[in-house]
Symmetry: C2
Subunit: 206 residues, 2 copies
């Protein structure tokens, strides 16, 4: 099982490798990748060993090859269908964000408990009533959901998601979800991030 932090770094490596490739860079060294993700060269080499791909001490890693290996790791040849629940401010922004990207992530349907939104197309995504969730998730074999509802609704909706076979949740609600141990939750907590920045902006250095 690949550790969570390694998975996160692999995603970041690829981001920087793609930029490097566009800039015409053919080879990178572990110390360069380390700098990009604020890690150590030894850590980079351990991470990349998981891919079964090794660089050479002389030339480092081949940029194109390394991107290919990370793509395979993330299975990005395949389009991944996800759903989004909660078409408020953050939900709408995420619909636009994933629509604009050249990524392999596709939001195939959005849901909102506000029934006046059901049937409407909001930011290019059709919004459905919560009652339709079960069928859409089952028919499309969706395993991943974005949760962008208010904190007060988050747990009850997470329960519905889990019941219907969702196994990973990107959670924007400022609450700690209780889910079974085989369900993965990634929290994005913007207020907490902002409070950290404000705290350290005030001259209290790390």
């Amino acid at each position: 099982m690949t550790p969570e932090k390694t998975v996160a770094r692999l995603s970041l490596y690829r981001r920087f490798l793609k930029i490097a490739k566009e800039d015409g860079v053919d080879n990178v060294y572990s110390h360069q990748l380390a700098e990009m993700v604020r890690s150590t060269p030894a850590q980079v080499r351990r991470d990349l060993m998981i891919l079964g791909y090794n660089g050479s001490p002389q030339k480092g890693y081949d940029v194109a090859e390394l991107i290919k290996h990370i793509d395979t790791f993330f299975n990005t040849e395949k389009i991944i269908d996800v759903i989004l629940v909660g078409v408020g401010n953050i939900g709408r922004a995420l619909l636009s964000y994933f629509r604009d990207g050249k990524s392999h992530i596709k939001i195939i349907a959005s849901f909102d408990k506000d029934e006046t939104k059901a049937g409407r197309v909001i930011n290019n995504s059709r919004c459905y009533a919560m009652d339709d969730l079960k069928n859409i998730v089952a028919e499309n074999n969706v395993k991943t959901a974005i949760l962008s509802v208010p904190a007060t609704d988050a747990q009850s909706i997470a329960d519905i998601l889990v019941e219907n076979g969702i196994r990973g949740i990107l959670n924007f609600a400022p609450t700690r979800l209780k889910v079974p141990s085989d369900v993965f939750v990634e929290d994005v907590d913007i207020t907490m991030n902002m409070e950290k920045v404000i705290y350290f902006s005030a001259g209290k250095k790390k």
Copy 2:
């Protein structure tokens, strides 16, 4: 200097304490707080010691008192003025997010290099041209910025922010900013978060 992870946890503790308070809970124990932030009771006690506030083994921590101490730590009696650069999808969502919240964080001005946006009020925030940034930051003594521009613009705009006295950046651009060591950057990288969730949704458990 308080470590970054401690600052993050203090923000989370307060979130949960406020929910507990609304539910009529008067006292909490370190093991309850630990569960909420996925940490250990010993870590919670170390974190709270920074506030100069101790619970009792019998009654735990007084919820109202603890909230007060964390407020003082974050200086939330004071409204904190921040600016936002990049009024695209994510930028607009953040303007709504911080407008709606009952938080002490206030986005006093937004900026966009698209001059057709200058002078317009977008999501209740007046949008200014980049040329106005210097004066607005200086006049309001702003130390903190939200950066929600495309990756290609992020570094050049970060340089402008730093030149004009910004000391903390909440960065939504998928790029690693280079800033002086006395400037704090917090990255929010939604694509990376999403890739992690998809990876672990596919049955590769932690």
